[in-house]
Amino acid sequence: MDSTAPGWDNTGLHAMIPPTATAAPLLSAHRLAFLRNDEPVFGPLDFSLGPGETVLVEGDNGSGKTTLLRVLAGTLPTASGDVRFDGRPASRDSRNGRVLWLGHRSGMNAALSPRENLAFLAGLYGVRAGMTAARAMARVGIDAWLDEPLGTLSAGQKKRVGLARLLLLPGAIWLLDEPYANLDRHGIELVNQLIAEHCATGGAALVTSHGAVQFADRAARRIHLDN
């Protein structure tokens, strides 16, 4: 990408965001960059994510997609530029549990069942209105495994438990790192459905993909990361 042009906008968001959303987007990044050993991994990037929006982060392996999401989630320090949540600088207080992270690792203990894992996370984050662990598991189609140890489940089933976590916890901003990995055709459809439903209720999602999977919403804004 052209990092020298001032005010470069990767997404053309001025044309697409309605005026109400620009007041305080859920998440916005301004000239965000990350350095590893003084080598730029990505950026500088400018983008914002308002309620109901999905942004697709594209790029080849090693182009910094996961790193970008980790910087936004706050599990990596920001090298330069800034990240804002609701217009407030990113911090534990401004994130305040509204960021849900789905990565390569399950974030759950293999010796505990999905029910026990979800109960623990519900204790940490709270629970979305009208949702229970059992209902979330039923929605992603694996309620039969609610009481099996997570370690005995297949990679695709674990991914689905991760999706159930997204449904159960009340965070509005989903940061999904390769949510399609390990999933079958129906699972991929399910992810697209869940993202669409989440956005329809005022949530937002930032989704990374290496481009092998057809993303449902062809009109979704894209951030392209180059090596």
Binding site: L76, G97, G103, M108, G123, V127, Q193, C199
Partner: protein, 246 residues
């Protein structure tokens, strides 16, 4: 449902409606319940430190000869060292699996003070791995001919010293969590911190054995414990952040 997205997108932010908002008390309770469930699943592993303590305490009389006076004199110190050594291996894995499976990332993103979660983890760890060691102390004391009137002082010293050691160990465990094979590293780092704790605990036991007032060293331990309860979780939280960020 998905088809209506463009119209309803900015109307109703239902995703932010929360049925049960997060609160720190619920988070601590959920973490305690989770850790107790895990401990119960791995109760065989938890039994090992206990077995170790019993075996060492049982071997001492055979190695030193059955002289009740000699055994009674060294029993307090020996039991103290046995407990410290028995609790050492478990300290290393305090945050290890949670770092490896991504649970710590979830801790960091949760709307809860990380230090409070770290303190809760310390409490759960102490209750599941160290408290059983203190509970069997009367039995081990009998094996080593510990005087009955010294036993309560030993138990009290352990009740103050072991939480302190677990708090210190938690900070070091969080610092070393990112490193592979951190067991040796942790033991080396904990040694200088454990020495004063052992000295004060042993001081109380020695004083009780010689019929002198033993309250002063115990009070020092209690003071150090209070300080550690406040400071160690904060240091632990900072170390956990570093571990996740690397």
């Amino acid at each position: 449902m998905a088809g209506t997205a463009p119209l309803t997108a900015h109307a109703v932010p239902a995703a932010r409606e929360v049925a049960r908002p997060a609160n720190a008390f619920a988070a601590c309770r959920a973490l305690l319940r989770r850790d107790f469930t895990l401990a119960w699943r791995r109760r065989g592993e938890l039994f090992l430190p206990l077995l170790y303590a019993v075996i060492v305490a049982a071997l001492f009389p055979f190695a030193l000869g059955p002289d009740p006076q000699l055994l009674g004199r060294i029993a307090g110190g020996v039991l103290l060292v046995i407990v410290v050594l028995a609790m050492l291996p478990a300290l290393e894995s305090m945050f290890r699996t949670d770092l490896d499976d991504g649970t710590l990332e979830q801790w960091l993103l949760a709307p809860q003070p990380l230090a409070l979660l770290a303190l809760t983890r310390v409490i759960a760890h102490w209750l599941t791995t160290v408290l059983p060691l203190i509970v069997v102390m009367p039995l081990l004391g009998a094996l080593l001919d510990l005087r009955v009137d010294v036993l309560p002082v030993l138990m009290l010293a352990l009740l103050l010293a072991t939480p302190l050691l677990v708090l210190l160990g938690a900070v070091l465990s969080a610092l070393a969590a990112g490193a592979r094979r951190s067991g040796i590293l942790l033991a080396l780092m904990l040694l200088p911190l454990a020495v004063p704790v052992v000295i004060f605990a042993a001081g109380a036991i020695a004083a009780a054995q010689s019929g002198m007032p033993y309250l002063a060293p115990l009070t020092w331990l209690a003071a150090a414990l209070v300080l550690a309860i406040v400071l160690a979780p904060l240091a632990c939280a900072a170390a956990l952040r570093i571990a996740v960020e690397s």
